[in-house]
Symmetry: C3
Subunit: 241 residues, 3 copies
Amino acid sequence: MVGLTASDAPIQAPTAKDILSVSPALARYTQDTLPDLWKRPGLSQRDRSLATVAVLIARNQTTELPAYLNRALDLGVKPSELSEVITHLAFYAGWGSAMPAAAVASDVFRVRSIGPDQLPPAKGELLPIEEASEKRRGAFVEASVGPVAPGVVQYTSEPLFHDLWLRPALSPRDRSLVTVSALIGTGQLGQLGAHLNRALDNGLTQAEASEMLTHLLFYAGLPNVFSAVPIAKDVFEKRKS
Amino acid sequence: MVGLTASDAPIQAPTAKDILSVSPALARYTQDTLPDLWKRPGLSQRDRSLATVAVLIARNQTTELPAYLNRALDLGVKPSELSEVITHLAFYAGWGSAMPAAAVASDVFRVRSIGPDQLPPAKGELLPIEEASEKRRGAFVEASVGPVAPGVVQYTSEPLFHDLWLRPALSPRDRSLVTVSALIGTGQLGQLGAHLNRALDNGLTQAEASEMLTHLLFYAGLPNVFSAVPIAKDVFEKRKS
Amino acid sequence: MVGLTASDAPIQAPTAKDILSVSPALARYTQDTLPDLWKRPGLSQRDRSLATVAVLIARNQTTELPAYLNRALDLGVKPSELSEVITHLAFYAGWGSAMPAAAVASDVFRVRSIGPDQLPPAKGELLPIEEASEKRRGAFVEASVGPVAPGVVQYTSEPLFHDLWLRPALSPRDRSLVTVSALIGTGQLGQLGAHLNRALDNGLTQAEASEMLTHLLFYAGLPNVFSAVPIAKDVFEKRKS
């Protein structure tokens, strides 16, 4: 390998012709089944694009990322929202996932002439904090994580729940949608229940969460969705009673 | 980063010289230990290549993928089989894993002059469905997944078990081998037991499954294999009684 | 996609300007929060660089890898140690993760004129084996893994615990640090307890392990760290009594 300093890009997304040259069946599913999926009721196409982008970023799947970032923008996701999605996932999927996403988005934004005026400020006004629930969250993390890793406790307050989650450029509901999608996409089941509950608290409906599972079948893969189902079932049932 | 529209490729696989320039030990293991692994009895080299390709695709590891796709073809895996492997993994590892694999395979097929006549049709005759076991599967999924995500239930029937799994260009046994390898490679243990059972039902022998675990040590990494072992043990024991 | 044989590279790491063009907030966290993290007491910057490199390699995140390999070298990690880290992770994260890492490192080493004299030999003198604990490990693996996959048992002795772990160019403590980081980074919780215990046996202090969890929040992502905490808690508590 040479030329690491030369300008380069990831694997180019295969064209329809490329896919056909490998698998006519995959071309068929891509051209028939996927568009049908996106048109299903229960979850808006805008939300589907957020969920898809979140999975691709969390899984470091940059090949399809330019196309889906563009699709998100075409569907009405604001550049400021995509900006926050990438920032959010730096914390929820790691810097090593966010940096290639930022590189790809930087190209997409440039091509679409999306300038700094369309981006959320580095620091600005925050949503009001929900004192009671944040106090409960803090106490829980202090008790469970504090004795093991006090640094983790500190960072979950600042910059996470006293900063990132309160940034107004992405709604708490959308942050939750993105977080849950990333968790399912990477098979991180341990934190799924808590974040699915938070998503429902933040305004994602149960019907939307259910349809998200269906949508993610195609982007997280069937097994990740099957493993997520019993956790979702448990969350749904406990909220009923 | 610029030039996203320019033609590009992933990280080039390191040459033997590249590896040597970083780690003579890694070069030794690659040149001595890996070839010995591939020659072990218990699992054919053809099957090893399918398992390896499945892990690379499911993990989005495109660097080594061209070499292993070529090795698979050299070992007698048919282009039509590789075509189905990629299509199969679109559902079992997600579109974001299948698309870069299709891009890489498209290049490999082009270089080898593998044309459309060697590919399975987009749609064609299917293997006969095993009514009884499919009824059991459907009822189980309906009961366990249906109340949470009815869309998931629908897609597991059509296009999955009433279409994809019945496509004759890849045997059910090989589909299972690929699925199990992808699950182990990505640490998705929740669905491993069910798919390992299905693999044994589909004709993979227990000795082959055992040797697959050994093979995957080098491609899925030791920890993923160690975590898979108790599940395999449980499956093996329950089938004995 | 064309040009797979042309010389190419992965997605270029985004420049500070690229990041700013997507998310001023992400630029802020990258420029303010990350440097603060690296300066925290409890874990040396050298150890942080090893942990970070291990996560990036295990997760196939090559975009940031050149920068962090260079940072590791700047912080005093020896080329021979990085060489062993990559070799170690071939076994613990799979060949498909080690090969792109070797390709990237080969470029980094070349640019820094790191020659073969600075690399550990392919084969050489080994650290003395700890007979008693190795006997315990061997017996445990024989009993638990042997009935399912005898090949796995064989390879864990040779080349793993009778060769790789005894290579003197990377201390057992650092091998453990790298292994634990890779496990947390990829969410492979099943083997985390055993390897964290081994890390503490090998000289990593509990305070360092705790701060590693904090550090990895930013590279493995918060959810992976949160899922690791209860396992670390259990290990810490059991060693106290």
